[in-house]
């Protein structure tokens, strides 16, 4: 069991949990993730490790509440516990030794950028972050990233920072200062837009993919993505890949496989389908 040591609401649907996981806290590297299973019968959910405190034996998970399972996770309070956490999984982020890095984050993906920016900053790489959200209240990790370099905030409604998409700001920055490497983590359309922007400029662009996943050890192949026309498993070959090679359309499409099930599960959690829960034990309908 992994007890919850702290909880903080970061935006209307994003929550930060500090969770006890000493081994993972001691060895995790930027870019790596864990798979959590809240309780018996719960789903296995992959989550990026946003930060770690080895002394306290704790890792930080940043969770966007999107369906029944994530809603249950973000409802946890200090003193509650997560049954299973496995990791650290996946490869560590590809780093550069010197130069300038542009870190672009959208929504909950901004949390994934944080350990990457931390590590770059520690190596002496000049870090600029561009982070975005719908409006002021949806922007997360601004303060943490400011400690590591300049931050450009973009909001759709202009309520904070500049009005517009992160790609608009990225375009301006790349045109004026340029970058040796770009890290983009966020919704798939955002990562695709960034990759499309940097491809003609020839700037290496790393994206972090979040496909459907079960075991996280390469066993099931559910997380397969097409990168450079080859099938790769995000859990063991990734989760980060060369953004210029990723088939984002296929990824977006595969993320919708269980949409109908997710809606049903959410409806059930709301008490809307007691009948369905009652017959669920009978598999053949």
């Amino acid at each position: 069991m992994h007890s919850i040591l702290g909880r903080q609401q970061l935006s209307p649907n994003v929550t930060r949990l500090k969770v006890r996981a000493p081994r993972i806290a001691a060895i995790r590297q930027p870019g790596q993730f864990v798979i959590v299973r809240l309780a018996e019968n719960a789903e296995r959910i992959p989550l990026t490790i946003a930060d770690a405190d080895p002394a306290a034996g704790a890792i930080t998970l940043v969770i966007q509440s999107v369906g029944k399972s994530t809603r249950e996770l973000v409802a946890l309070k200090p003193g509650d516990a997560i049954r299973d956490i496995v990791g650290p999984l996946g490869h560590a982020t590809e780093m550069i030794a010197s130069g300038r890095a542009l870190c672009i984050g959208g929504g909950v993906g901004t949390a994934v950028l944080h350990p990457i920016a931390q590590s770059l900053n520690r190596r002496g790489v000049h870090v600029t972050s561009i982070i975005g959200g719908r409006s002021r209240e949806w922007v997360i990790f601004e303060e943490e990233l400011r400690r590591l370099g300049e931050v450009v905030v973009c909001t759709d409604d202009g309520s904070h920072g500049r009005k517009g998409f992160v790609t608009d700001a990225a375009k301006d920055l790349l045109a004026t200062g340029g970058a040796d490497i770009v890290y983009a983590v966020g919704p798939v359309p955002m990562m695709r837009a960034v990759a499309n922007l940097t491809r003609p400029l020839g700037v290496r662009t790393i994206v972090s993919l979040n496909p459907v996943m079960i075991d996280g050890t390469g066993m099931c192949g559910g997380c397969r993505v097409t990168v450079g026309n080859k099938t790769r498993f995000a859990c063991v070959d990734g989760p980060e890949f060369d953004g210029h090679q990723v088939n984002f359309e296929e990824l977006m499409d595969r993320l919708t496989i269980y949409r109908e099930f997710e809606q049903r599960a959410t409806a059930c959690a709301d008490g809307g389908c007691r009948l369905e829960a009652a017959v669920a034990g009978r598999p053949a309908q």
């Binding site: 299973r37 990791g87 079960i214 075991d215 099931c220 099938t231 099930f261 053949a284």
Partner: protein
């Protein structure tokens, strides 16, 4: 063996075989001729003393029969259900020459089930501790067997399991109707009572590395399984509705997706499901699809019935449950609609040609025979390949050209004190062969630890 009616069971996940009654078991056990040179035993990968436990059973001395069986086999409730007895112990039975062999598998199951429910009547004597510690990587059949043997020699054993539940393929791969999860859990509990420690959620190669384990333990046994699913490498394989058998079965078995939404993991319920492959995993997938409510389930296999690698009983059960077999058929493309959902499997008819390296006739495409088999789910069950997760973080380990571990006749790798067995050495094989490896390696580990222990 009495079994559930085929129409009823095709719609539930309860065990198909219902088990012997006491009378039937005694009667069947007394059919054993107590051969002087028992062939059944020679053909058993874990060398169960079959005549001994059958004789005890035939005299109604069931507690002694159970003790004898458990001394030879750490997981009799498992092997009694999933072993291919027809090609092992029962093939060697002299009774088979004239009529029906002794039903050794069913009797093993009967005795194992008695042992599970009468634990208080079995000896709980523990071997004095040697003070030596062994790490076992993977809690599948090889790992559990090795752990059971090692702990009986008095060694401290810790198993590291990557998933959240122990059992490996016994819990994620083999379906409930063939091997109830409760039985695996009870066999695991029995090992834990003997002193085996199990640490779940520990991925060796990520959470810990082999050199780290080697530094903390006196010996290490690697039994982390075969791993990565092989796909067909045809167009359309990433369409929505295409599963590897590993994913399909893991969702349903380990994550209990058949109970959705009571359990939170979903799985697509196809109406027409095409399962590609002819092994036991393909049969398991096909029979599972029927139980999820598929109106039609097709096994797509490129050779004929004679070459099916699956056990005869599994093929028979699949047919009884309404699974269709499309022999001499090979997929060339998965077809989808404009929303990228699977709508069919484009296939070619095949004919058998000259034998290939495996000795089996090589299937050759019949020109112009292309056709589309309509389906909404495709399950790819054509095998697995070595998972590099563990070996990549221990580059000193010697691998063969397929990425599997190379071991000597004692099951030891090129690293002293690091042993290996099961699918990570053999490639995908059977539960019982993995258990045989576990038992042999445990013996070798015991010998390896002895000089320093004395």
């Amino acid at each position: 063996m009495p079994e559930q009616d085929s129409a009823a069971r095709a719609a539930n996940f309860d065990e198909v075989n219902l088990g012997f009654t006491d009378e039937l078991a005694l009667l069947e056990a007394s059919r054993c001729l107590q051969c002087k040179d028992p062939r059944c035993m020679q053909d058993c990968p874990v060398c169960v003393n079959i005549p001994k436990f059958l004789e005890l059973l035939s005299h109604g001395r069931i507690a002694e029969a159970a003790q004898s069986l458990l001394d030879d086999n750490a997981l009799p409730g498992v092997t009694g259900r999933v072993c291919p007895q027809e090609t092992q112990c029962e093939a060697g039975c002299v009774r088979a020459a004239r009529g029906r062999p002794v039903g050794i598998g069913h009797l093993e199951r009967y005795v194992a089930d008695w042992a599970r429910t009468h634990r208080d009547q079995l000896s709980a004597a523990k071997t004095p501790a040697t003070g030596r510690r062994v790490a076992v990587v993977g809690s599948g059949p090889a790992g559990l067997t090795a752990a059971g043997e090692l702990v009986r020699h008095g060694h401290g054993v810790t198993i590291y399991e990557a998933l959240h539940k122990p059992g490996g393929v016994l819990v994620y791969g083999i379906p409930e109707f063939r091997l109830p999860k409760k039985i695996v859990a009870q066999e695991v509990e029995r090992l834990q009572e003997l002193g085996v420690k199990i640490e779940c959620n520990a991925v060796i190669g990520r959470t810990w590395t082999v050199p780290e384990l080697r530094g903390q333990f006196d010996a290490v046994f690697l039994a982390n399984g075969a791993g990565l699913p092989v796909f067909m490498d045809v167009p359309g394989e990433n369409l929505k509705g295409v599963y590897s058998a590993n994913e399909y079965l893991t969702r349903i078995n380990l994550m209990a997706a058949y109970q959705f939404p009571r359990s939170s993991t979903p799985v697509l319920h196809g109406q027409r499901v095409a399962v590609v492959g002819g092994g036991n995993v393909a049969m398991d997938s096909a029979r599972t699809a029927r139980r999820l409510g598929a109106a039609e389930v097709m096994i797509v296999y490129r050779r004929t019935r004679n070459e099916l690698p699956a056990r005869a009983e599994e093929v028979h059960h699949a047919e009884q449950e309404g699974v269709h077999f499309e022999f001499l058929t090979a997929p060339v493309e998965v077809i989808g609609n404009d929303k990228r959902w699977v709508t069919g499997l484009k296939c070619l008819h095949m004919k058998l040609g000259t034998p290939d390296a495996s000795g089996r006739a090589r299937p050759e495409p019949v020109p112009g025979s292309e056709f589309v088999m309509p389906c909404d789910v495709v399950v790819v069950a054509i095998g697995t390949r070595a998972n590099p997760l563990l070996t990549a973080t221990c580059p000193e380990l010697k691998l063969n050209k397929h990425g599997y571990l190379v071991v000597d006749e004692n099951g030891m790798t090129n690293l002293p004190g690091v042993f290996a067995g099961g699918d990570i050495v053999r490639g995908a094989a059977t539960v019982i062969l993995a258990m045989g490896d576990g038992k042999r390696a445990a013996g070798a580990i015991n010998n390896y630890l002895k000089p320093a222990a004395s």
